[in-house]
Symmetry: C2
Subunit: 251 residues, 2 copies
């Protein structure tokens, strides 16, 4: 586990396109202009190297974050030192913001899964924005609801799907074109992290991926995945799921 960053060394000017990206997030899009300006001027660019720890579970949440590029792992660590990965987020997502409703304490730790650029924003500002502005509160409701929905799906999958099916489902979610014949894609982060995200060990992930290649027509070399027929993968995984295949719309 990498040591905590000395953030001061990594800060620079906030690029304009990052603010543009920020403005597209549903939480900020609904904001009055002058309120968004407050956030813009409070934002600090934060650069993390792969492996850098951003905050720990139970840390007081002074800041929340917006991902400009890269990947962030949210996880919990047990007393015995085991890790449960709750989510792995990328560009366009915020995290750490829900501490506002969790007594001002982060309920999960965060670390960079790849080299990552963030915008750091004060939770106090968001808290007052939510308290003052009804639209922002509604945006926050929509945002948290999406998370809750995804977590419900995760629980369902952990309960009912085996390892190969969870992997197949993970791959299917990466296929944007749902009915295109052949899809070729690149795994977004380390296989060991995908394994942890799907609550399995690296060795199990490797073997389950082999099994998936034997039982379907997909092929994997390194981090490149070729899926000749999306429907075939869906047939493999989606019967143990409560939603029919093109399930990505409602996330």
């Amino acid at each position: 586990m990498a040591e905590l960053l000395r953030l001061d060394e990594r800060r620079g000017a906030v690029p304009q396109d990052a603010l543009g990206l920020l403005h597209q997030h549903s939480l900020f899009a609904a904001m009055p202009t002058e309120m968004f300006m407050l956030f813009s001027s409070a934002a600090k660019k934060t650069v993390l190297n792969k492996g850098d720890q951003l905050f720990l579970q139970d840390d007081p949440a002074e800041w929340f974050y917006f991902i400009v590029s890269g990947w962030i792992k949210l996880f919990r660590e047990t007393i015995d030192g085991e890790e449960a990965v709750l989510d792995v987020l990328t560009s366009g997502h915020i995290f750490g913001e829900s501490a506002i409703f969790d007594g001002g304490i982060h309920m999960a730790a965060a670390a960079a899964a790849e080299n990552t650029v963030l915008l750091r924003l004060p939770t106090s500002l968001l808290k007052s924005a939510i308290t003052k502005n009804h639209e922002v509160a509604l945006g926050m409701l929509a945002s948290i609801s999406r998370q809750r929905r995804q977590q419900s799906q995760d629980i369902e999958k952990l309960s009912l799907q085996n390892t190969s099916q969870r992997i197949a489902c993970f791959l299917l979610r990466m296929c944007k074109a749902t009915d295109q014949q052949e899809v070729s894609l690149s795994l977004p982060y380390d296989k060991s992290l995908i394994a942890a995200r799907l609550s399995m060990k690296s060795e199990t992930f490797s073997r389950a991926l082999n099994k998936l290649q034997q039982e379907t027509s997909i092929s994997i070399k390194g981090s490149t995945v070729i899926i000749p027929a999306v429907g075939e993968l869906a047939a493999f995984a989606c019967n143990q799921c409560s939603q029919e295949f093109p399930c990505s719309d409602l996330q």
Copy 2:
């Protein structure tokens, strides 16, 4: 699976104490009086027998519900007919309300785990209350956040704890007095439902409970559980958890 209720046959006057209970819920407590009156007069009492199905996943959500007494199981059913139990709720809780943010569709099915009395309320009313009234929106945020927090814990437990530990954790959560010497309690609903709630099979639950009795000093007869030393159970389960023992405060 029981067939859908003919609700009309089960409706009666809404008892005053049920409305009092409703008013204690954080969502309604923060409401202006006249708005709460709207909900009160729209509320219909609904009585379910054990096993009755209230709504299915993907049903349009015309109503949401407040539990006056009894137990409600929220679950998802796969195409293959397997069930994943997301939560089991009792008196004082609401459910079905989050469909407001899920496209007006229930993301889980609901059925009575025991004989149950509900108040049925229109989602349209809640939706407009949230849209019009800032306090209500904040109450909703607090409510959904609590759910999200609990789901994060569920995911952690599913990922890291074995069956006996999950059961121990379940029992610990039922102990209100955290440091009392001996706790005696009664299982709130069927063992098979507890098993499903903890994502294991009935047989596995039964065996894991035996193991728990061998390895700690707890004893179970029927649905009666006696826990001579709460700390001992905690030592058994809580090392595979990210939170130290008396973890019930923040839910």
